[in-house]
Amino acid sequence: MKEYFQNIWYGLTTVLIGMRVTFKHLFVPAVTIQYPDVKLKLPERERNRLYVNMDDCIGCDQCARACPVDCIAIETVKSIPGEDLGKTSNGKKKALWVTKFDIDIAKCCFCQLCVFPCPTECIYMTDVFEFSEFERDKLVYNFVTLTQSEIEDKKANYAKLEAEKAAQKAANATSVKPAEKEENKQ
């Protein structure tokens, strides 16, 4: 019998205590904000959309190798002697034409592993987080600054150089070849 009334008592009092807590909160200012109108200031280490500063990129492919989800695709073409590619902001000399630097941000897992190995600090994460698109293809970002014709130009230049080298090699080889053949025969 005692337990019966105790139950009633606890039931009523704990409900009232709970009601007191919620009532107090009616007058506590809200912690939420009106998001698109009001935006929070993001901290400086914010890890959102990747950005590549192509002026500094030397095409070393380290970021692509660090990426656990393979969202960075880099292709490079060697420069031919006499071409000046300029220097990066921290004094490294560029030697490669970066003909492709695509980041598929839809694949990106925002782990920041690509940022640390970069020798010129040209790839980094920005605080831009509103970049949704209606088409998935638009989430593949191209960072290459060269135009398509320039890329073809560079490729052609390098191919030409290679071809010249190969021809040189072949020329050298043919001069040696007969001797080799003779040796083989013996």
Partner: protein, 366 residues
């Protein structure tokens, strides 16, 4: 009543036909509470619920549609209106379509007997309270129909729980109302309200009018009765902590899981209409109904036509107050389990209501 008479005369003068006048006046005076009370109240109450819950949880709630989001419910209603009405292929179509109408009609029927003011009661029947209880029990049929015809196990469980719950909780409700009937000797809600006229100490919660010894003896028992009535009506409208039929985290949303668009909106409207209805009953029985606690401005100013309007405002504000308490409870409490709900009813509320009834009866005899 006044509105009915006025309309009747108006239509009769035009058409010179008693039958047409009668029917038109009935329809219009019957539709009035729907248009001037149920729909606007629901719109406001849904918005209030959102805002109250938001502020209790340190949130802002709807803020965009209108100032502080007051148009949010209207926007939602428009959205629901233009939504596709989905009926699954295995649903029992006739029952499925009938259920929301029945539930809504059941809760709307209650409004017919509510004493909004001394000048306007949809139907001033002598068995007012009994009618309200009967009509609100009507909802069970609709809910069972909805649960069964949805052909969904969750809906069925929800509907069965709801039926068990509503029927059980009618007992303590009736027992408390019986206590009141015993004291006042009337089941007419208007008479009951008129008995509590004057100031707030004449309300039933303070033992009713008069200054006899029994009035003071009644007070503690009236308080117990009020708490029991409030809890059991809360259970009857399926609100937290008794929202087991809808139990979002268990049964997804119970008997109205399968409904979409306007049919869902009808369940929704019915729920909020019901909330107001039971709050109005509680205030009519214990808190003087449409009577002002402090006297009327119309009397002081000598403008008797103002009194019914004031009474209406008092009635509405008392109702809204209890609705707000319901919301407050909802955003504070967890939900009971179905067997605990039954235990609360049969082990606690009914015995206490019974003892209360007997004691009040003895005091009345004294």
């Amino acid at each position: 009543m006044i509105i009915y008479d006025f309309l009747y005369k108006f239509v009769f003068n035009i058409t010179q036909s008693a039958a047409i006048g009668d029917i038109t006046a009935m329809i219009i005076s019957g539709a009035l509470p729907l248009l001037i009370l149920v729909l606007p109240f629901t719109l406001v109450a849904v918005w209030l619920e959102r805002k109250v819950s938001a502020h209790m949880q340190d949130r802002l709630g709807p803020m965009r549609t209108g100032s502080h989001g007051w148009l949010q419910t209207v926007a939602d209603l428009i959205k629901l209106l233009q939504k596709e009405d989905i009926v699954a292929s295995d649903n029992d179509r006739p029952l499925f379509n009938l259920a929301p109408i029945l539930v809504f009609a059941g809760s709307y029927l209650v409004f017919a007997a509510l004493p909004f003011s001394s000048a306007y009661i949809g139907s001033n029947i002598d068995l007012g309270i009994i009618f309200i209880i009967a009509a609100s029990g009507f909802v069970v049929a609709g809910i069972l129909m909805a649960g069964w015809s949805s052909n969904n196990k969750y809906s069925l469980l929800g509907a069965m729980r709801s039926a068990a719950q509503i029927i059980s909780y009618e007992i303590p409700t009736i027992l408390v109302i019986l206590t009141i009937i015993m004291i006042t000797g009337t089941t007419n809600l208007r008479t009951l309200s008129e008995m509590q006229t004057g100031h707030f100490w004449n309300w039933m919660i303070f033992g009713g009018a008069g200054l006899s010894l029994s009035k003071f003896l009644f007070i503690p028992f009236m308080l117990i009765g009020f708490v029991i009535l409030y809890i059991s009506t809360l259970a009857e409208v399926n609100r937290t902590p008794f929202d087991i039929p809808e139990a979002e985290s268990e049964l997804v949303s119970g008997y109205h899981t399968e409904y979409s668009g306007m049919k869902f909106a009808m369940f929704f409207l019915a729920e909020y209409a019901n909330m107001f209805a039971v709050s109005a009953i509680v205030s009519a029985i214990f808190f003087g109904g449409y009577q002002s606690p402090i006297g009327y401005l119309g009397n002081t100013l000598g403008l008797p036509w103002m009194i019914p309007i004031e009474q209406f405002l008092w009635f509405a504000s008392k109702g809204v107050f209890f609705v707000l308490v319901q919301m407050w409870l909802r955003w504070t409490l967890p939900r009971l389990r179905v067997d605990q709900l039954m235990a609360l009813c049969w082990k606690y509320l009914i015995p206490i209501a019974f003892v209360n009834l007997i004691i009040v009866g003895l005091i009345t005899v004294l």
